[in-house]
């Protein structure tokens, strides 16, 4: 057993650090430190740098413009970029639709769509969730009816993250309503500029806007945009959902949260002593650090041993819980200054003066925002169902 990185991985880690030191824009670092919300221009600026370096698609094969990194390398890259506060690379092109296209897409689709993703020219969003479907993703109601060389698409998608940034949307659509729900679904790529598509913002509990409803009203989609075979879309969707293995635990993000948490806990005081010395708070902080170390090691074990059985679900459950607990404890650390609602102060355009310590403004919004982590990407309940299945073998 050996818990440390090998020499090659250490060298890679150093390479990543050198690159980040040289190339990560100071203005993004400043925004991150000040907890100003990233906007499209921020994602763009960082993703362009990565694209130029050829580091935007860590898991993709080299032939498609990816890095071809090992899971351990991908994990190193994730952790290092999170540690400096870089915007996460929006996952919809790189992590989600890209692998579907290069695995199941036609030669023409590969040629058409993959370059735009690795060059950061095309932004994607994901049209899976529908109103009322929840965890039952296969209950797709959006229809696509064949009409000559086209499909005519009608329906509604929801919880569509960054649809307002997106050039394209990849959609699950129902192409055969007469069969078992999983069997009548197709996987369609749709240009967001097509007539009949409208986007309505949904504001979340933190006051931010990143999810949307997407309405599709008689949208004409060329049949050449169908991925793979008609009515086989559920299989591609499952591939997509199961494809994301590194990063599932969110170790890098939670580590960065804990750096902030320790800073707050050293700065805040209870009974005249730093909060970090308060026995009750210290015990909770210690417990969280311990759980994070356990998560980090368990994540590495999965990377080393392969993402088999219940492993991804186990990491998703605990990882999302820690993403919640870290911001929860940050909020608790504030005491009375958890009370003012200062979400607006996180907007780049805001030019007021927040009350309380400088780290106060984002705490309550972050707490509310993170409630989503145990809901999306396969809710905790769904993950537990999966784990039980592997344990009971049914």
């Amino acid at each position: 057993m050996d818990f440390s990185l090998g020499a090659a991985d250490l060298a890679f880690q150093q390479e990543v650090r050198d690159f980040l030191k040289a190339e990560f824009p100071p203005e993004l670092a400043a925004k991150s430190a000040a907890e100003i919300r990233f906007k499209k221009e921020d994602y763009d600026s960082w993703q362009n740098i990565l694209a130029r370096k050829g580091w935007i698609a860590p898991a993709w094969p080299v032939e498609h413009g990816g890095c071809g990194w090992s899971p351990v390398q991908q994990n190193i890259f994730d952790e290092e970029t999170f540690a400096i506060g870089a915007p996460r690379v929006l996952p919809f092109g790189i992590r989600l639709v890209g692998p579907v296209v290069y695995t199941y897409g036609s030669k023409a689709q590969k040629a058409r769509f993959l370059p735009g993703i690795v060059s950061n020219e095309t932004y994607w969003c994901q049209g899976f969730s529908e109103p009322g479907a929840g965890s039952d993703l296969a209950s797709v109601k959006t229809t696509a009816v064949r009409d000559g060389d086209n499909f005519v698409v009608n329906g509604q998608k929801t919880w569509t993250s960054y649809a307002h940034y997106a050039d394209w949307i990849f959609c699950l659509v129902r192409t055969d309503p007469g069969v078992k729900k999983q069997l009548g679904i197709s996987f369609l790529l749709i240009d967001m500029k097509t007539l009949g598509i409208s986007v309505r913002p949904i504001r979340t509990l933190d006051g931010d806007h990143f999810v949307n409803e997407v309405f599709l009203d008689n949208v004409i989609v060329p049949a050449e945009n169908l991925v793979g075979e008609e009515n086989k879309g559920w299989g591609y969707a499952k591939f997509l959902l199961g494809n994301e293995r590194t990063g599932i635990a969110g170790v890098g993000m939670t580590k960065a949260d804990l750096v902030r948490l320790r800073h707050i806990a050293r700065t805040e005081k209870r009974n005249g002593r730093p909060l970090i010395e308060d026995p009750l708070f210290q015990a909770r902080l210690a417990r969280l650090e311990i759980d994070l170390r356990a998560l980090e090691l368990t994540n590495l074990r999965m990377l080393a041993e392969g993402a088999q059985g219940a492993f991804p679900s186990i990491l998703k459950i605990r990882g999302s819980q820690l993403q919640q607990r870290s911001v929860e404890l940050q909020m608790d650390a504030l005491g009375p200054y958890a009370l003012p609602w200062q979400a607006d102060a996180m907007e780049p355009a805001w030019n007021g003066e927040p009350v309380g310590p400088d780290y106060a403004k984002a705490r309550a919004p972050a707490y509310f925002d993170r409630r989503k982590t145990t809901i999306y990407g396969g809710s905790t309940e769904v993950q537990k169902n999966i784990i039980a299945k592997t344990m009971f073998g049914f």
């Binding site: 009370l339 609602w341 309550a364 409630r371």
Partner: protein, 358 residues
């Protein structure tokens, strides 16, 4: 032993319910008209002379209806600060105005860095002829954005005194803002604020804790009302929402989470009842223990209920457009106002250790 409302409490409750159900444009004015502003004001000063439980009757409905009115800041703690420390003349001057709804009053006890410790007091008063000069800073003053009168705690010589400040007095700088649940508050800086001698209310040390306890009990009751709605909304949602071809209330895991909520809620309710029953009591120890007990459960189990309610709602639960979030935010404010869980557990635990009999 009787855990039901009295005839008067039932009437008060019904009136408040009717009022919130109506379409009043100025809700607080309507509340004042029906006597809510004076619910806890002694009868001799034109109030209804109610006690903690009467305050709870109102606070429960305020929480259930997400009302944003200065009942807590003015009619409960502001009133009580004047009532417990003021001279006969001072009470006669201010309490009837409160009862009529003509005066909004806030308490400004806490200071930056004090973290709920009322003894952490750096605001200084010094004598100045017949009056005083105040300097200091106050943080997160509930209702401070709209208060006409601010009751400030300050050190004078070797004691702690409460002063009644006209909110418009020279030297007062207010930074107004909204809390997570929409109610207003302010940070207040006092720079050489000059007061007449009659602005001195009286001794603050013991009174601050009493006033603060009343606030904690009332906001716990507000949260209890909100939590009742959260549980009901969630049960209703689970019944109507279908997934995998059935109402999701069929899933045993969700059933048991609802049961956990019910268990937590009933026990919380018992403690909130007791805290409110003792919230205006002169028995400082029983009051403090009961209030801390209720406040701890609201903060810990209340938060749990909120988190589970969001989780069970799924995506819709994290949107700002759906009412659930507003109730949850109301409970969250109640967690952090008038002492968080750790503050109260330390107070409760210290008393437990100090008095454990052998």
């Amino acid at each position: 032993m009787d855990f039901g409302y009295s005839e008067e409490q039932r009437m008060l409750s019904d009136s408040v319910v009717r009022l919130f159900a109506g379409k009043e444009t100025d809700v607080w004015a309507a509340c004042c008209q029906m006597g809510l502003a004076g619910a806890l004001v002694p009868e001799e000063f034109d109030g209804m002379g109610g006690l903690g439980i009467d305050g709870m009757v109102a606070a429960l409905e305020i929480g259930r209806n997400l009302a944003v009115i200065p009942f807590l800041s003015t009619a409960a703690v502001g009133m009580q600060a004047v009532n417990l420390t003021g001279s006969k003349a001072q009470k006669a001057k201010w309490l009837p105005q409160i009862a009529e709804g003509h005066l909004q009053v806030s308490i400004a006890f806490e200071e930056p860095g004090a973290r709920y410790d009322l003894d952490h007091l750096e605001t200084q008063a010094v004598g100045d002829g017949d009056g005083y000069i105040l300097n200091g800073r106050k943080s997160v003053v509930l209702g401070g954005d709209l208060a006409d009168l601010i009751i400030v705690a300050a050190r004078l010589d070797n004691g702690v005194k409460l002063f009644a400040l006209d909110a418009g007095a020279a030297g007062i700088t207010r930074t107004d803002y909204a809390l997570t649940d929409g109610r207003g508050a302010a940070d207040i800086a006092l720079h050489d604020v000059r007061l007449q001698g009659d602005a001195l209310l009286g001794d603050g040390a013991a009174v601050m804790a009493a006033v603060y306890d009343l606030g904690a009990a009332m906001i716990a009751a507000e949260a209890l009302g909100a939590l009742e709605k959260i549980i009901a909304m969630t049960a209703e949602y689970l019944k109507t929402r279908h997934q995998f071809g059935q109402p999701i209330s069929n899933f045993q895991v969700l059933q048991h989470q609802m049961a956990d909520m019910a268990v937590a809620f009933e026990h919380m309710k018992s403690l909130v009842f007791e805290a409110c029953d003792l919230a205006m009591s002169k028995d400082a120890v029983s009051r403090a223990q009961a209030v801390s007990a209720a406040k701890i459960l609201i903060a810990e189990e209340g938060r749990q209920i909120c988190q589970h309610a969001i989780q069970m709602h799924g995506g819709i639960g994290v949107t700002d457009e759906y009412d659930l979030g507003r109730f949850v935010k109301r409970v969250t404010v109640a967690e952090f106002a008038f002492g968080d869980a750790d503050h109260h557990i330390a107070r409760y635990g210290k008393h437990l250790a100090d008095t454990a009999d052998d």
